[in-house]
C-alpha cells in the first residue's frame, strides 16, 4: 500500500475557475464557476488515490489539471517535485510520457475513423518511438494482448468492439508509453455490471505488473473502496475529507462522507437496514457556493460557526483529514451506516 513516503505528485492550493461572461462583442465577466477551489493533496508513488464526489464537485476538472489538459487559475501541481505549469514543447511531452489518462466514455474517446492499431500506436507516433512498421505493429499487438484484446483485431475499427473492449483499447493507449502515473476518470461507469469487474481487475493487474500509481476518479463509492488505498471526498470544488480507505469507510468523519456512504444501496436485503441520512435538496451551484463551510446548507449537524467560519482540512485522528467543525462521532456513524459495513470490518470471512 503505502510502501514509500515519496510523493510523486503534489498538489498545492489548486484552483480552476471558469469565467461566466455576458455580452457578445464586448464580453465581460459576470462571475465564475468555481470548479476546483483551492485543493491540496499528495499522491504517493505506487498507491491508488481515489477521488469521489457527486456531479459537479470538480473531480474531472482536477484530473484534467493534473495532466495539464487544462491550465489552473492558480496554485501548482508538482510532478516529482517540479512544477508542471510552465512546461511546454519537449518538457511537456516528457511529462505526458509519465502521466496518462483514461476517459470515461469509451464511445467518444476513440476516433471512429482510425483502426485500433493506429489508435494504440498514436503515442508511439507522437513520441517518435518504434519507427519501423513491423516493430511498431509488434509492440501494439503486445499491448493488445496485455489488456486482453485479440491481437488479430489490429485492423478493426472501434465500432466493431463492445463497450468493455473499447475501454481496454483506451487502457492500452494509456499504458503504451509505460507511464508511471495513470489517471482513470470514471473508467467503468459507462459499462454494464458484468463487464465492470473485467476492467477493474485489468487495472489492478496492470498496476501490480507495472508499479503504476493510479488516480481513480469515480462517483461509485463501492468501486472506489475496492480500488483505492486512500480516498479524497470532494464537495463543490473542495476536498472535505482525505483518509485511508479503511478509515473512511468504517469511520467517516465528515458528515458529507457519512451521508454518501449511508446513501449507497447495499445488495443485501437484510444487512442493509439502517437509519439513512438522507440529505435534503441538491448540490448548490458551484458558480455561487455557500459561504464558509460549503456543506452547511445540507448538513444535518450545521450550527454556528458553520456559516461564518470555513473549516480547514485537519487531522481528526486515525489518519483522517476532514474539513469540519463538528466531525461525526462513533455513535452517529454506527446509526447511519449499514450494519454489514462494520461487520465486514470485524469478520474477514463475511
Amino acid at each position: 500500500m503505502t510502501a514509500t513516503n515519496n510523493s510523486i505528485i503534489e498538489v498545492r492550493d489548486l484552483t480552476k475557475h471558469f469565467p461566466i461572461t455576458q455580452g457578445i462583442l464586448f464580453q465581460r465577466q459576470i462571475g465564475a464557476v468555481k470548479a476546483v477551489d483551492g485543493i491540496s493533496f499528495d499522491v504517493k508513488a505506487g498507491e491508488t488515490l481515489g477521488l469521489v464526489g457527486e456531479t459537479g464537485c470538480g473531480k474531472s476538472t482536477t484530473a484534467r489539471l493534473l495532466c495539464r489538459l487544462m491550465d489552473p487559475t492558480s496554485g501548482a501541481v508538482l510532478f516529482e517535485g517540479e512544477g508542471i505549469a510552465r512546461r511546454k514543447g519537449a518538457s511537456l511531452k516528457a511529462l505526458h510520457r509519465e502521466l496518462q489518462i483514461i476517459f470515461q466514455d469509451p464511445f467518444s474517446s476513440l476516433n471512429p475513423r482510425k483502426t485500433v492499431g493506429s489508435i494504440i500506436a498514436e503515442p508511439f507516433a507522437i513520441h517518435g518511438m518504434y519507427k519501423g512498421e513491423g516493430d511498431r505493429k509488434k509492440h501494439v499487438q503486445d499491448l493488445m494482448d496485455r489488456v486482453g484484446l485479440n491481437p488479430e483485431h489490429y485492423n478493426r475499427y472501434p465500432h466493431e468492439f463492445s463497450g468493455g473492449q473499447r475501454q481496454r483499447i483506451g487502457v492500452a493507449r494509456a499504458i503504451a508509453l509505460e507511464p508511471r502515473v495513470l489517471i482513470a476518470d470514471e473508467p467503468v461507469s459507462a459499462l454494464d455490471v458484468s463487464i465492470q469487474a473485467q476492467v477493474l481487475n485489468l487495472l489492478k493487474r496492470l498496476q501490480r505488473e507495472m508499479g503504476l500509481t493510479l488516480i481513480f476518479i469515480s462517483h461509485d463509492l463501492s468501486v472506489v473502496r475496492h480500488m483505492c488505498d486512500r480516498v479524497a471526498v470532494m464537495y463543490l470544488g473542495k476536498i472535505v475529507e482525505l483518509a485511508p480507505s479503511e478509515a473512511l469507510y468504517h469511520f467517516p468523519r465528515h458528515p458529507y462522507s457519512g451521508a454518501l456512504l449511508s446513501a449507497v444501496p447495499v445488495a443485501d436485503p437484510t444487512g442493509g437496514k439502517r437509519r439513512r441520512t438522507i440529505l435534503t435538496g441538491d448540490v448548490p451551484s458551484p458558480a455561487n457556493p455557500p459561504v464558509a463551510c460549503r456543506f452547511h446548507t445540507r448538513c444535518p449537524k450545521a450550527k454556528e460557526p458553520c456559516w461564518t467560519e470555513e473549516p480547514l482540512l485537519e487531522d481528526k485522528g486515525s489518519g483522517s483529514l476532514a474539513a469540519c467543525h463538528f466531525p461525526l462521532t462513533e455513535e452517529e456513524v454506527a446509526l447511519q451506516l449499514p450494519a454489514a459495513l462494520t461487520q465486514a470490518h470485524a469478520s474477514p470471512s463475511a
Partner: protein, 363 residues
C-alpha cells in the same frame, strides 16, 4: 386474490435489416397490489421492452407480440388503441430513465402535469393547476406554487425526476413502472428518490415494477426479483431467496462481480467472462452457456425451462445443473472460492467429459 398484472409467456420480436431480434422470449410474471417487483438485467436483456409492451408502446409494423398481458380482465397485447390510451398514464404509469429527455423543454412543468390529468378526466383548468402544485408538493419539491410555472431546464436532475414521478402519480395509478429511475442521478439524490417511492407506495398503495441493473437498488426496494438474461427470466424469487440462495450462475456472477460496501475490501472480483449474446444469433442450448464457468456438454444442446427450485417453492430457476451441485457451488463462491476451483463439483457429478470453453476474454 388475483394479481393486478399478469404477464403470460410474452414474446416480442422485432424484424430488422440484420435479422429477427428476439427481445423478449417467453416470460411470465405477475405483480400483486401494493407489492414491488424488481426486474434486473444488463443492457439488451429485454427488461425495458417488457414494460414498454405492457403499455402498448412497442406496437409497430415490424414488431410481433405473442402471449398475454392480463390487466383487469383484459389482454393488453390485443386491446384496441383507445383502450390503451385510457390505461396508459391512468391505471399504469411509467417513469423513464432520463428525466431531461422525457420532459418537453418548451412547456412549463405545470402545463405538462395538467395535460396528464386533462387527458384522462374532466377537470377544470383551475383545478388541474391547483392539483399540479399539490403533486409537486407531494414529491417533495420546495416552493411548488412557484415551481409549477417554471420550465424543465430550471430544475436539477433530481428535481426533474421528481417531476416525472409527480406526472406519473397525477391520475393515481394502480401500477407504477419505474425504468431505471435513479441511474442518471447521484447517490444522495438516488437515496431521496427511492425513499420517496417507498413512502408514496405505502401511502397510495400502488404496485411498483422497478427495472434496474443495480442490485443494491432492488435489494432495498423489491419484494420479489426477476433476473433477466437475453430476453428471458432465468431466475425468479423473493428478494431474500435471490440474494441469500441464488440459483443461477448468471446471478452468482452478478453478485460476485460488483464491489460491495459490505464485504471485505480486497476480495477479488469475479467477473463474468465474455459479453451478453446477440439477440439475433442466440447461442444454442442454454443462452448463458458460452459465459458459464460450469458448462457441461449437454448444456449446449438443451434449453433449460424456468422451474421451481424445490417442489412447491416459489423460487424458480432456468438452469440444467442439479440443485445439489448448485447449492454446493454457491456455498463455495460465498466463501471466496474461484469459479474455476469449483468446476470439479460439476465434473464429479457426472463423468461426461466437459471441455471448458475458452471464453472470449479471461479477465
Amino acid at each position: 386474490m388475483s394479481p393486478l398484472l399478469e404477464v403470460e409467456d410474452l414474446r416480442v420480436t422485432f424484424q430488422t435489416e440484420d435479422g429477427l431480434v428476439h427481445a423478449v422470449d417467453g416470460i411470465s410474471y405477475s405483480v400483486d397490489i401494493g407489492k414491488t417487483l424488481g426486474i434486473v438485467g444488463e443492457s439488451g436483456s429485454g427488461k425495458s421492452v417488457t414494460s414498454l409492451t405492457t403499455l402498448g408502446l412497442t406496437r409497430a409494423r415490424n414488431t410481433k407480440i405473442e402471449g398475454r398481458i392480463m390487466w383487469d380482465g383484459e389482454d393488453l397485447t390485443t386491446a384496441p388503441e383507445d383502450k390503451m390510451r385510457r390505461v396508459r398514464g391512468n391505471d399504469i404509469a411509467m417513469i423513464f430513465q432520463d428525466p431531461l429527455s422525457s420532459l418537453h423543454p418548451f412547456y412549463k412543468v405545470g402545463w405538462q402535469l395538467m395535460e396528464a390529468m386533462q387527458t384522462h378526466r374532466e377537470i377544470s383548468k383551475h383545478a388541474a393547476h391547483e392539483r399540479a402544485a399539490e403533486l409537486l408538493e407531494l414529491v417533495g419539491i420546495p416552493d411548488p406554487r412557484k415551481r409549477v410555472n417554471q420550465y424543465p431546464h430550471e430544475f436539477s436532475g433530481g428535481m426533474r425526476q421528481r417531476v416525472m414521478i409527480a406526472m406519473a402519480l397525477a391520475n393515481e395509478p394502480k401500477l407504477l413502472i419505474a425504468d431505471e429511475p435513479t441511474t442518471a442521478l447521484d447517490v444522495t439524490v438516488q437515496a431521496q428518490i427511492l425513499a420517496l417511492l417507498d413512502d408514496l407506495q405505502s401511502r397510495l398503495g400502488m404496485a411498483i415494477i422497478i427495472i434496474t441493473h443495480d442490485l443494491g437498488v432492488v435489494a432495498e426496494t423489491a419484494d420479489e426479483i426477476a433476473v433477466m438474461y437475453a430476453g428471458r427470466i432465468i431466475e425468479h424469487g423473493s428478494t431474500e431467496q435471490v440474494f441469500h440462495a441464488p440459483q443461477h450462475p448468471y446471478t452468482w456472477g452478478l453478485l460476485k462481480s460488483i464491489p460491495r460496501l459490505d464485504t471485505v475490501r480486497n476480495e477479488e472480483l469475479v467477473p463474468i467472462s465474455g459479453r451478453p449474446p446477440s439477440l439475433i444469433h442466440r447461442p444454442s442450448g442454454c443462452f448463458f452457456h458460452p459465459r458459464c464457468p460450469y458448462v457441461r456438454e449437454a448444456h449446449r444442446r438443451i434449453d433449460p425451462k424456468l422451474e421451481s427450485v424445490a417442489a412447491g417453492e416459489e423460487h424458480e430457476v432456468a438452469c440444467l445443473l442439479p440443485p445439489t451441485v448448485r447449492s454446493r457451488i454457491w456455498n463455495g463462491l460465498r466463501s471466496g472460492a474461484s469459479p474455476a476451483s469449483l468446476r470439479h463439483l460439476v465434473t464429479e457429478e457426472d463423468q461426461v467429459a466437459a471441455q471448458p470453453l475458452v471464453g472470449e476474454v479471461g479477465e
